[in-house]
């Protein structure tokens, strides 16, 4: 099934950009997740997930995780490193989509759309920073 047009030509361009960001995010996340599983097997062998206590995310918030990844602290092994990178990739993909939409609307002087997008991104970043 193919659909040709959407709301307007300008939005169609933004949709294409957003589609590429989502596609890149999905591919990167998938590759990182598979790498993380490979490391898990290499380190622990076949484990029963119901008996193991698991690896829990313990950072203060998302930006603390980013900081620890950049500085290489609190990441004990390859599994945890790649699992953390999966989380970062999952969080950054939609965040980047909204950020790009905000910039796109600003450049095209569509201030109503830009304001809505800015509110969404402000709520998301505040929540990521506060929790």
């Amino acid at each position: 099934m193919k659909y040709i047009s959407s709301n307007d030509a300008e939005s169609a361009k933004l949709e294409t950009i957003m589609g590429y960001i989502f596609a890149a995010g999905v591919i990167i996340t998938f590759v990182l997740a598979v790498t993380s599983v490979v490391f898990l097997y290499h380190l622990h062998g076949p484990i029963n997930l119901l008996e193991e206590r698991g690896e829990f995310f313990h950072q203060q918030n998302f930006f603390a995780l980013l900081s620890s990844l950049i500085h290489g602290s609190n990441i004990q092994n390859g599994t945890l490193l790649f699992a953390s990178l999966v989380l970062v990739s999952l969080v950054l993909t939609p965040l980047l989509v909204v950020a790009v939409a905000c910039i796109y609307f600003a450049l095209r002087k569509r201030f109503k759309c830009m304001s809505i997008t800015f509110i969404v991104i402000a709520i998301l970043i505040t929540s990521l920073a506060l929790h």
């Binding site: 589609g19 989502f22 995010g25 898990l40 076949p46 995310f57 109503k112 929540s127 990521l128 929790h131």
Partner: protein
């Protein structure tokens, strides 16, 4: 019982296929399965909500390519769903786990609103559809058009009741954040019946909104200590594969089979959650 990483990946692939076929998404099935396997409910919810970002992101790739997502409507409604999701996830962190079983069962009941007869019988009696957009919606200029690939016709549409729709989406976000699910069926119902968007546009826009809703809920769960990375990673892999496979075989599966599968699956999930809730009392 032994649940190794490959087993969880296979379970998640099956869940992803079922979620794509029934339109339920993977998370509501995954949360129930994790709980039945003995994973604590808050851990199951927090780990599953992260997988929702993965599945809705991959679905968004196809939806945006089909040019059906109304980005402006999506972004406007996200203000409400994202706020609801943050509040919902915060509530889950605080309340005793037992309430979550009953909330989950109650919210799954709203999935039945996807069945046309029920929707017409319930929603349209409570909320008769208005024909004209209200002043606020006109000011927001929430209209669009698309060319239907099946009929070749250009379909023009304009949203209405955008503020009321926003309240509906806040409730959807609240439930999604609380229960670690996408709440797609509820979101589509709000967009179709309150905002008056065409079904194809509603489904596509709803999926775009789910990505941001799940991100908002994830932001709260990240610091809670409930996100189990060892569960999350195999689920992300499995549900992503399952979602893609399910999306590809969707058109080859007869509609009647899908309706029966949807009815049986939702009924089973509700029953299991109620049993779990009652036995936990």
């Amino acid at each position: 019982m032994i649940i190794s990483v490959p087993v969880l990946i296979v379970i998640s692939i099956i869940v992803g296929i079922l979620g794509a076929l029934t339109g339920l998404g993977g998370a509501s099935i995954l949360v129930t399965i994790l709980i039945l396997l003995g994973i604590p409910v808050k851990e199951a919810v927090a780990s599953a909500v992260v997988t929702v970002i993965a599945t809705s992101s991959s679905a968004s790739v196809f939806n945006l390519r089909n040019k059906l997502t109304h980005i402006k409507v999506g972004l406007f409604l996200e203000i409400f769903t994202v706020t609801g999701a943050i509040l919902g996830a915060t509530i889950t962190k605080i309340i005793p786990p037992i309430f979550l079983y009953f909330f989950f069962a109650a919210f799954l009941l709203t999935s039945f609103l996807r069945i046309g007869i029920l929707r017409r019988a319930i929603l349209e009696k409570i909320l008769p559809p208005s024909k004209q957009p209200d002043r606020f919606t006109r000011w927001m200029d929430l209209k669009g058009s698309y060319i239907d690939g099946v009929t070749g016709q250009k379909i023009d549409y304009a949203a209405r009741n955008s503020f009321l729709g926003g309240i509906g989406m806040f409730i959807a976000g609240l439930a999604a954040g609380m229960l670690g699910i996408g709440a797609g069926a509820f979101k589509v119902t709000v967009q179709e019946n309150i905002l008056g968007l065409p079904p194809k546009v509603s489904s596509s826009t709803s999926n775009f909104i789910i990505t941001m809703t799940a991100l908002a809920a994830t932001s709260v769960y990240l610091s809670s200590g409930y996100v189990n990375l060892m569960l999350m990673i195999p689920m992300v892999i499995g549900v992503t594969i399952g979602g893609i496979v399910g999306g590809r075989i969707l058109n080859r599966v007869p509609d009647n089979f899908l309706r029966i599968l949807f009815f049986l699956l939702v009924s089973y999930l509700i029953l299991e959650m109620l049993i779990k809730g009652v036995t936990s009392l």
